[in-house]
Amino acid sequence: MINIFLQYSYGGFKTFLVEGQERNERISKEVLLTDFPVLPDDAYCFFQYGGAKIAYRYISDGRIALIIREIPSIHRDSDGRNIPCAVQFIGDPSDRNTLDYITTDIANDIEAFHNFFSNLFSIRDGLFIDGDSLRSWINRHATQYSCESPISQIKGISRPMYDGVILFVPLSSNFGIDRMVTNIITDELKLPIKQILSDKCFISMSSLYMLQGKSILNPTKLMPEANKIIHHNNPNVKRWYHNRRRKIACIAGIALILAIILYIITN
């Protein structure tokens, strides 16, 4: 059974558990501190921090979480912009196939998912969701994805893997390029940085958007970030290395002078 957790701004941003049973389900079951650990930290952190558009990963309790953030909701601010919401689908290892197919469909056409998801809500006399439609949509993915031509690398996520991150779509195009950015994001979102970088299982949001709807893809173009070298751009770190070099040179110089003096004295 795949559990659905929703973060939605209704009376402020709150995290709700969606049952997904009724046609017009009132969203009122808020996840509170007393309910923990209904969501482990490595899943809940995706509601606490930005930085990710999609994350598909094994979490610490052995389950698998698929997180999609920055989904435009039906609520708008006074400037006419959609207020974003986020959803997490969390399933047991036996739900792996379903979650693979859901991820494939979402990653292949993000706008279609946005439209589908935001149209599930209504706000007459409270916040409601068409839970029935959402559950049917999940169940339809039990055996296959529905998009016609999935992005080859995204299709490849169904390779056998029993731990770690399967797919990560960061919002920042500097992820994997800038060390500070990469460290901050992986630290906040509790992502295994070594595994992500070595498995090359990430693609930036802007790159993914470029690939939407294209069937023939060059894998090197799909993940340009992974081929670049992470470098230091932190002035403090640069200064630290500079000072260290200076001190080593200084010590070496003094050691040389002492050696010469010692040589002269002994001879």
Binding site: S78, I83, I123, D125, S206, N236, R239
Partner: protein
């Protein structure tokens, strides 16, 4: 200690120095009270208004976190960079005298913004942490994280929504102000602030925003009195501590935006198929419905109007704040002041911490043998090596009269509030 250990300590010490020159500034306040708006103003003003000959400010924040579709269109996610200009563009489209609400996209998750301030050969990093107002609620999982942030922070900027603060003539108004500005929660959270030593200075800035109306009506003193009363518990808890500085700094984030009145939040539905409704209020004099942009809604057969439950916090209905333009357009004022005060405070803190460390190191060195002292002085400079640099920065600020300390509601709180 072997020579190898000694070399190691030299490097460790240097790395430690880099880490220690990082200061955390935590933005606090209720939902949509203006935390992110204040923060974007501070960052922008610090970057652009600080004299380059005094110190250099580099924004190290990653601003690439936004959605860009295949058609090249930007996203709807308002980063802090976008927030800086949103009031400007929003005000440009408003007619003089028209009424509307200002309810920009709320902050979604914790965000961190990093500024590096350098002068000569030394630098400090300021880490501004912006959090959603909902994290203040005691029962939510994020509250634990927030308590940790309070323990780690040096500066606390508390955003105060002035219209809600001033609309407290009735008991209902007081309840609304308390839940909207999260006054009790902030006082409770701040009780977790830790002062490790006399040199571990802390700064609390109470920052009323949306206060232009009271400025122009020359009633800013009323705002200050209300702040002191409303935040009495917070002030009295910390005012007697020498290491804590409490200041009030009213800033005008828009300038041309005047609070008009508060009206209950309603939703207008054209028919039963309408899922989203239209945010509006009823004009109490004419009973007309006005949508959030200030347009009159023409009623139709089959339509309906209900209370908007989205505008309720802890089961208390929060009214909509309606604003008018006064013709001044976008004219922010004093937005740089919190940033400059923070900078001055952190420089003073740096100076104090360095002085204490330098004194401790001198004492330690005096008890060691002369050869060791000589080697240490060559390889490991005292903590106070950068003191003159920061002293010069403060002196330059004072000389150029950049920092406002009084007038227009600016004040230090030094006494208990009765």
């Amino acid at each position: 200690m072997s020579i190898f250990d000694f070399i190691s300590t030299l490097f460790e010490d240097n790395a430690q120095n880099v880490a220690e020159r990082k200061h955390k500034i935590l933005m606090m306040g209720g939902r949509r009270s203006g935390k992110s708006t204040i923060l974007s103003s501070i960052l922008f003003q610090l970057k652009d208004k600080t004299p380059g000959d005094v110190c250099t400010i580099i924004d190290k924040t990653d601003y690439t976190q936004q959605l860009t579709r295949a058609d090249g269109q930007g996203s709807n996610i308002p980063t802090l960079d976008i927030k800086r200009n949103e009031l400007h563009t929003f005000l440009e489209n408003k007619n003089l005298g028209s009424e509307f609400i200002v309810d920009m996209t709320p902050t979604y998750g914790q965000s961190t913004y990093i500024l590096e301030i350098s002068a000569n050969n030394t630098s400090v990093e300021l880490e501004f942490v912006d959090i959603p107002g909902e994290w203040m609620r005691a029962g939510v999982p994020e509250h634990r994280k927030l308590r940790e942030l309070v323990k780690q922070s040096d500066v606390f900027v508390i955003a105060i929504d002035t219209p809600f603060l001033m609309n407290t003539e009735t008991y209902a108004g007081q309840c609304i102000n308390n839940v909207y500005n999260r006054i009790d929660e902030i006082a409770q959270l701040m009780s977790h602030m830790i002062i490790n030593s006399p040199s571990d200075l802390k700064q609390i800035i109470l920052c009323p925003v949306k206060c232009e109306r009271w400025i122009y009506e020359d009633k800013i003193d009323n705002v200050i009195t209300k702040i002191k009363q409303a935040y009495k518990n917070l002030i009295n808890r910390w005012v007697s501590q020498d290491a804590v500085s409490i200041q009030i700094m009213p800033i005008h984030t828009a300038g041309g935006l005047i609070f008009s009145r508060m009206l209950p939040a309603k939703l207008y539905f054209t028919d039963n198929c309408n899922r989203t409704g239209l945010l509006c209020s009823e004009n109490p004099e004419t009973h007309d419905l006005i949508d959030y942009k200030g347009n009159l809604i023409e009623r139709q057969p089959g339509d309906s109007v209900i209370d908007d439950q989205n505008y309720s916090i802890d089961y208390i209905s929060i009214p909509l704040s309606w604003y008018k333009t006064n013709g001044y357009g976008y004219r922010p004022q004093y937005c740089e002041q919190p940033g400059l005060h923070i900078l001055k405070f952190l420089v003073e803190k740096e100076e104090k911490v360095n002085s204490v460390k330098a004194a401790a190191q001198r004492n330690q060195l005096n008890n060691t043998n002369p050869i060791w002292r000589f080697l240490t002085q060559i390889f490991r400079p005292t903590f106070g090596e950068h003191l003159p640099v920061w002293e010069n920065v403060i002196e330059a600020f004072d000389k150029q009269e950049l920092i406002k300390t009084d007038g227009d509601g600016f004040c230090h709180i030094n006494a208990f509030v009765k």
